[in-house]
């Protein structure tokens, strides 16, 4: 019997080439290409008065220098605003090369093309740009005050303003027996994949065809955008995504200025051109996320139940708004987590600053939302002297209330309706896993030894797998090998393995016979992209549906050949056979031969499909009117709504009483992403997410000075954690299937990162005895908080809150 692959911890099929140094990443391609480099703005805000390129012209090996003046037509216009929304008041996007104004340090102003990168960089260094510097606007406060304005023609810095409300939250809060206000603050971080962005273009002048390789999270999106900008038909552009060295969101933005300039120059020069981003460019000129200020007002009853929740968010979107307002929308909606908020009002203002753009980074606004809600839950517990887990439990949506409509519009423009989930069961699991109820004794013992330890808990719900759609194409070759294609891209999630597992089960073929292609518009032009934990849900479902179509056809053809009823057939190990009589069967490859009526034979096998070989039915055409030749299936999966994964993290930390260093002693995760396609891959996603969550809570921040210079634009100063910092993660799974898709799965890619800041803040707070409202927290900051606390500048947490496990003691 064939083993079922779905749900098995199958080794990844991608890995063999990656562990032997044979991966083909963007910068490993295009050995003969010219190299591009960019003159970038050294100022956060300036007007470009003059560009003098003469100094570069005698650099040997220089090929071309381009400025905005060289661009025309759509290329000279601003880049597209990818996701329009009615709440956007003034949506500014950059130009491919700066036109008159620059709005952040790192903005591309001049493009240089040269024989190699060293020459290109030399030429960049010799180009003189004369800037008239203008006032920078750095930080949310400065943006909100609007004493200085980022974009000419605007009277303030508000890019978008949105209010969503369910019920009358303010009235509910005013009438509530208890009321708390919190001011919260999260700083900027960034995806920081190990491989930066990169683009490599080949223009074939004879065929007037463009082949573009890009380290992107959306092949089809890049294709459409580049075609539009370069004035090409979609059919003239092929986008191929090679191995991608991590994305985490930053590579979903498209088209980047460089992503347009490289193919534009390749066409202009009639020569291959490549640009591979360096680390400093990635820090300053790619994208960041997270920065928000939140003001929470909450009303609740004496049992800790929410009656009204009013959240006001200021969101820093950086210099431009190419990705619209997805991040603050996600924050506003996903903030609700597994809870019933009572009446809810959320308002955000998305603000321009003269810094790098802000677009989704793994979690995409959820870490901030969860921070707001979970800090609120802890504050309620403190206020009432309740156990923090009990406050959460009092507010959970119950499993029998699913599907649960939160009454808002989600980031996909569709209703925020949770499809399934069992939050009480998750809470029981996480309490057991971390030993929640026994922690008080542990902490008291530690305190007696002069140690400070604390425990924290945070819950989240994550909308995953949003539409509009993804496609799958499955084809059986006459060799019996199966080729699978989906349009979305992969950047380390093991899609090739997971999709092969799904197809193996659907078709009854061994994994070793299946090859999967992702992110290649030549194989699957219709696609959206890889974001929002949608790979497995969307493309998994699409290839399953495509495989089912193919299987139906295979059984029909085999039934003819075997003179059996299709209903009596099954496919086992790549062979169609009669159920119960395995000797009566036909190889799937042979079915593929028969599926394509031939005039000309090309090998032994294909003879079987030629016109004089078999008994033909002369009453029917060789290919029926509603059929087509070949053994393939294509289908698309378009869900009604997003599916909602969930989870809970608990963490135990120890803080050094003297140096204020923070150490994670335990990190526990309970995770529910529906049916698991491959536990090995899902656990890897959780581990990686947790590492980024810990990083964002304790180490990473983008440190801009008041002039808009990024002070820590390197791995030496932006403190990404090594193996020596990331804790061991203890994981327990819960599987609540999604009723929305054929496989019962939910997305898993982002989950691990989401509650990181919230749960670590909670644990540090528990260890210290005063509220933590701002993340990340470094030893230096914790030291200063302690000082303020000692001087009475921060109120101590009331009573029983710091005595976890003793509810109402």
């Amino acid at each position: 019997m064939a083993t079922r692959m779905f749900g098995m911890p199958v080794q990844r099929t991608e890995d063999e080439r990656l562990i032997t140094g044979k991966g083909g990443y963007l910068d490993d391609l295009g050995a003969g290409a010219y190299a591009a480099a960019f003159v970038r703005s050294p100022h956060a805000h300036a007007r470009v008065r003059d560009i003098d390129v003469t100094g570069a012209l005698d650099v040997e090996g220089l090929v071309a220098v381009y400025t905005h003046e060289d661009l025309s037509g759509p290329m000279a216009e601003p880049l597209p605003l990818l996701i329009p929304h009615p709440a956007i008041l003034d949506g500014r996007t950059p130009y491919a090369l700066a036109k008159e104004y620059v709005h952040y340090v790192g903005e591309p102003v001049v493009m240089v093309v040269a024989r190699d990168r060293y020459v290109a960089e030399d030429a960049v260094g010799r180009i003189a740009v004369d800037y008239e510097t203008l006032d920078p606007v750095v930080g949310i406060e400065a943006a909100a005050r609007a004493e200085r304005v980022v974009h000419a023609g605007m009277s303030d810095n508000v890019a978008a303003h949105l209010v969503q409300e369910v019920g009358d939250a303010r009235a509910a809060i005013a009438a509530a027996p208890n009321r708390i206000e919190l001011d919260l603050d999260i700083e900027r971080s960034a995806c920081t994949p190990m491989e930066g962005r990169g683009v490599y273009a080949r223009w074939d002048g004879r065929d007037a065809m463009l082949r573009l390789y890009s380290s992107t999270q959306t092949a089809s999106g890049v294709r459409a955008a580049v075609a539009a900008k370069l004035g090409l038909q979609l059919g003239q552009v092929e986008v191929v995504v090679p191995d991608v060295g991590g994305g985490f969101g930053v590579k979903i933005v498209h088209p980047w200025p460089e992503e347009l300039m490289v193919p534009w120059a390749a066409r202009a020069l009639g020569h291959e051109v490549k640009w591979a981003e360096d680390r400093r460019e990635h820090f300053t000129a790619a994208a960041h996320e997270r920065a928000q200020r939140q003001h929470v007002t909450v009303g609740f009853d004496d049992e800790g139940r929410l009656l009204g929740l009013d959240v006001d968010i200021l969101h820093d979107n950086g210099a431009y708004l190419p990705y619209g307002i997805i991040v603050p929308i996600v924050t506003s909606t996903q903030l609700l987590g597994p809870y019933k908020p009572g009446a809810y009002r959320v308002e955000f203002r998305s603000l321009y600053t003269t810094t790098a753009i802000v677009t989704p980074y793994r979690g995409a606004g959820r870490p901030q939302g969860v921070f707001a809600m979970e800090r609120t839950m802890d504050a309620i517990a403190a206020h009432l002297g309740m156990d923090r887990a009990d406050v959460r439990a009092a507010n959970f949506i119950q499993p029998e209330e699913m599907p649960y409509d939160q009454g808002l519009l989600f980031q996909d423009g569709r209703p925020l309706i949770y499809d399934s989930g069992d939050y009480p069961a998750s809470l029981e699991k996480i309490k057991k896993l971390v030993g929640w109820d026994d922690f008080t004794a542990y902490r008291d013992a530690a305190r007696a030894e002069g140690r400070k330890v604390g425990i924290g808990l945070a819950c989240y719900v994550e909308g995953t797998g949003p539409g509009p759609y993804e496609g799958g194409h499955v084809q059986v070759e006459t060799s019996g090998k199966v080729r699978v294609a989906t349009g979305l891209t992969t950047q380390g999630q093991g899609h090739q393995t997971a999709l092969a597992q799904i197809v193996a089960d659907e078709l009854g073929v061994p994994m070793s016979d299946i090859s999967v292609t992702t992110g290649d518009t030549r194989r699957m032009p219709y696609s959206v992209g890889t974001f929002a934990s949608r790979g497995a849900v969307m493309s998994g479902s699409a290839v399953a549906l495509a495989a089912r179509r193919l299987k139906e056809k295979a059984l029909r053809i085999a039934a003819d050949a075997l003179e059996a009823d299709a209903e009596d057939l099954e496919i086992v190990d790549g062979r169609v056979q009669v159920r119960g009589t395995p000797s009566a069967g036909i190889e799937l490859g042979t079915v593929a031969v028969l599926s394509n009526p031939l005039r000309y034979a090309f090998d032994e096998a294909s003879k079987a499909a030629t016109q004089f070989t078999g008994a033909a039915d002369y009453t029917r055409p060789p290919v029926a009117a509603d059929d087509e030749p070949g053994l393939e299936g294509t289908d698309f999966y378009s869900p009604l709504r997003s599916t909602f994964a969930s989870g809970m993290h608990a963490v135990v930390v120890e803080t050094d009483p003297e140096t204020a260093e923070i150490r994670i002693l335990r990190y526990c995760v309970v995770h529910d992403c529906g049916k698991l396609v491959n536990p090995l891959i899902v656990e890897g996603q959780v581990h990686g997410g947790v590492a980024q969550g810990v990083a964002g809570a304790l180490y990473e921040r983008m440190e801009y000075d008041s002039g808009g210079q990024l002070l820590n634009a390197s791995f030496m100063d932006f403190l990404m954690p090594y193996a020596s910092e990331v804790p061991k993660v203890e994981i327990d799974h819960l599987e609540t299937p999604s009723p929305l898709n054929p496989l019962g799965i939910k997305g898993a890619g982002e989950a691990g990162v989401i509650p990181g800041a919230a749960v670590i803040a909670a644990a540090v707070e528990d260890a210290e005895g005063f509220a933590i409202t701002r993340m990340p927290v470094s030893p230096s900051e914790l030291f200063h908080l302690r000082r303020r606390f000692d001087k009475g500048g921060i109120a101590p947490l009331p009573g029983a809150y710091s005595r976890t496990g003793e509810a109402n003691a």
């Binding site: 991608e14 562990i19 190990m194 060295g245 991590g246 890897g684 990686g688 090594y722």
Partner: protein
């Protein structure tokens, strides 16, 4: 300048090398060995870790001229330089433990992991503990895995090497 050295057991020469050029650039751009990755150019990420005369170094911080006459081994040469085996034991362990996600940091991590196994278990000095593994890998950044499966892979490779050494000793 001309630089001649040995890579993965085979002599190589690069001409017209600029004095400030790194070993990493020479490997990737001149010798067709793109396995070692460029991710920071300042020795912080370890993606370009290679053996130089048997010692692991960041190839981005070695001037090409410093490699002249020396022996370099890269990820491409990990699996039995003499041929034969398809995968080296550490590579095999990475595969089994699920230690690879995007794979960009993997070449450097493999070399550094191989170094640890070579200094410990393969010499009969036992299987390194969790802290020792993490410390030895603490110059290699990975953004995808959270390191857990990587640590597990190194332990697995070391355990096998340890068993082989002990088996051989019996």
């Amino acid at each position: 300048m001309r630089v001649t050295f040995e890579v993965n057991g085979r002599p190589v020469t690069a001409d017209d090398v600029w004095a400030g050029e790194s070993l990493l650039y020479v490997l990737r751009e001149r010798l067709g060995l793109p396995g070692s990755k460029n991710a920071c150019e300042q020795g912080e990420c370890g993606s370009c870790t290679v053996y130089l005369d048997g010692v692991t170094v960041c190839a981005c911080m070695v001037a090409a001229g410093q490699a002249h006459g020396r022996r370099v081994r890269t990820v491409e040469g990990l699996s039995s330089p003499g041929g034969g085996q398809r995968l080296d034991a550490v590579q095999e362990a990475f595969l089994e433990a699920g230690a690879v996600q995007c794979g960009f940091c993997t070449p450097g991590l493999l070399v550094q992991a191989d170094d640890l196994v070579g200094r410990t278990a393969r010499r009969g000095l036992g299987v390194p503990g969790d802290a020792e593994i993490r410390e030895h890998l603490a110059g290699n950044l990975c953004r995808c895995t959270g390191y857990e499966a990587i640590v597990e892979a190194v332990r697995l490779a070391a355990e096998r090497a340890d068993a082989a050494v002990r088996g051989g000793a019996r």
